[in-house]
């Protein structure tokens, strides 16, 4: 299942070239992204890793079509990205679920083009996939943070997108739930083979999940290094190779791995 990097580069799902972004505020311009080139392969799990405020969310919003870059182009499937698209769903932190809809209503939100019967089977399937059976009629305020996060993932998957953009989706969860959610996401990814771009500032999280980890520098962000994580899933997080890769990234970011 580990396609070679060379092959990925050829049939890139997403290709960003020369992305630059600067924001104007109070007459000053801040350069946030500088000359970013990035390819994401079909079915790949890619993590964007970098210090807080470096521009990870900005980059993710650009490739998702929510923000227009100051320079550069983003191509997905050979088409240039003009705006958000139902084939590529952006998952926010849990705050993105609609509080006025039930679990069912949220999962079915994007399915308005389907017939009623199709919609119902689709909803049931994804509720089961994320383990929310029994909560179909519950409202988000009756769910825990982790359940809301799973609900949002289910809402995204239900429209059968070919890409998912996740911006620190587990950032607000406690460490145990976070660990469980990572396992769930990997399980879903293996079942559905979406192309995933996942933003995080947690090194362990990146090394546990990704095929490749893109390490970004401080602002203005450039791509500092791309680390291929050549460990098959399920990953043994105490194996020497895991520790080697993890420590390599720690050093890359300029942190001594001690506290």
């Amino acid at each position: 299942m580990q396609a070679s990097t060379a092959k990925k580069a050829i049939d890139a799902k997403l290709r960003a070239k020369g992305i630059g972004m600067s924001f104007k505020r109070d007459g000053n311009t801040t350069a946030v992204l500088e000359n970013i080139d990035l390819d994401v392969g079909e079915g790949e799990f890619l993590c964007l890793l970098g210090p807080s405020g470096c521009g990870k969310s900005t980059l993710l919003n650009i490739v998702a079509g929510f923000l227009e870059p100051t320079s550069g182009t983003v191509m997905i499937d050979g088409e240039s990205v003009k705006g958000p698209d139902a084939r590529r769903i952006f998952v926010f932190q849990e705050r993105g679920v609609f509080p006025w809809l039930t679990v069912e209503g949220n999962v079915g939100f994007g399915l308005f083009r389907l017939t009623r019967a199709e919609r119902e089977t689709r909803i049931a399937h994804y509720i089961k996939l994320v383990g929310l059976q029994g909560f179909e009629k519950a409202y988000p305020q009756e769910l825990s943070g982790g359940m809301k996060q799973r609900l949002e993932v289910a809402r995204a998957l239900a429209v059968k997108p070919d890409m998912l953009f996740l911006d620190e989706p587990f950032g607000a969860l406690d460490s145990i739930t976070r660990l469980i959610m990572r396992g769930e996401l990997l399980r879903i990814w293996e079942a559905e083979r979406k192309t995933i771009v996942f933003v995080t500032h947690d090194i362990e999280e990146a090394v546990q999940l990704a095929d490749r980890v893109v390490v970004m520098s401080t602002r203005p962000a450039r791509i500092q290094k791309i680390v291929e994580i050549d460990i098959p899933h399920p990953r043994d997080i105490s194996s020497p190779r895991y520790l080697e890769l993890r420590d390599g990234i720690f050093e890359e970011i300029g942190l001594a791995h001690k506290i």
């Binding site: 929510f66 958000p84 139902a86 952006f90 926010f92 609609f98 409202y139």
Partner: protein, 260 residues
């Protein structure tokens, strides 16, 4: 339900009732001690109410007042919600219309009485127009602000799923602003009830507002005046309590603070 929740609920009813009772007693004894001939005691008022019921006008008057509020309030809702949603949706439109709204809003509905009589004549329609006018502005303003305050994260999610603007409005923006709209409706209903009484004092010959004026003019029946005032207050309270039940509907409740 746990027993503490029960006692808490009970307390919420018992204490206000007790306060009401104390005030009634205070009223009764102050009338008795001062020996007032004009101001009615609670017992006089009760007798007055019984008399109204016997004459068969009490329920009719209440129904008339409620009907006027119902019609006026509902038409304000039908006009005000779409108008407010549109204004909130197109900031350019609200920039044009908002100064006008803010200018017309502070004009008391009472000040509109002469105009409404010119337009609609003395009677039912005039009263309903005043109620409509009074209820309209809080509804429009609430819907407008509701739309403006929809978190961008919800709009973005809606756009991401490829919704048409109309569908986005119907399935995201409207439900997201509903809690604020409900608050606006509740304020508007209170105002509508306030205005119906004023309107009935001038424009019509039935209803609780009419009763207040009529009882005073025909024989200084202050027992009936106070009886009508009490009915007005109690029905206002009832309307408010009824309306607050809406806030517990689950699809709306997220927008309100609830302890449970």
């Amino acid at each position: 339900m746990s027993s503490t929740a029960w006692t808490r609920r009970l307390e919420r009813v018992v204490w206000p009732l007790l306060l009401g009772l104390v005030l009634l007693l205070a009223w009764h004894y102050s009338v008795a001690w001062t020996g007032s001939k004009v101001f009615p005691s609670p017992l006089d008022v009760r007798k007055g109410m019984a008399e109204l019921a016997r004459r068969g006008v009490l329920w009719g008057y209440i129904a008339d007042s409620l009907r006027r509020v119902g019609v006026g309030f509902c038409s304000a809702m039908v006009v005000g919600i779409p108008l407010g949603l549109t204004l909130g949706w197109y900031p350019a439109a609200s920039q044009v219309v908002n100064p006008l709204i803010q200018m017309v809003r502070p004009i008391s509905p009472i000040a509109w009485i002469p105009i409404s009589i010119v337009w609609f004549g003395v009677g039912e329609r005039s009263a309903i127009f005043l109620i409509f006018l009074a209820a309209l502005f809080p509804i429009v303003v609430a819907a407008m602000n509701g739309v403006r305050n929809v978190p961008s994260i919800f709009r973005r999610a809606g756009r991401n799923f490829g919704l048409s603007p109309l569908r986005l409005l119907a399935t995201v923006v409207f439900p997201a602003s509903l809690p604020q709209i409900i608050i606006g409706l509740r304020i508007a209903l209170g105002i509508a009830w306030l205005v119906v009484v004023a309107a009935e004092m001038i424009a019509v010959d039935s209803g609780l507002g009419y009763l207040v004026i009529d009882a005073r003019n025909s024989g200084k029946r202050y027992d009936l005046v106070v009886a009508a005032m009490l009915m007005i207050g109690l029905i206002g309270l009832g309307l408010d309590i009824g309306f607050r039940q809406l806030e517990t509907v689950k699809a709306i409740r997220w927008g309100f603070r609830h302890e449970g």
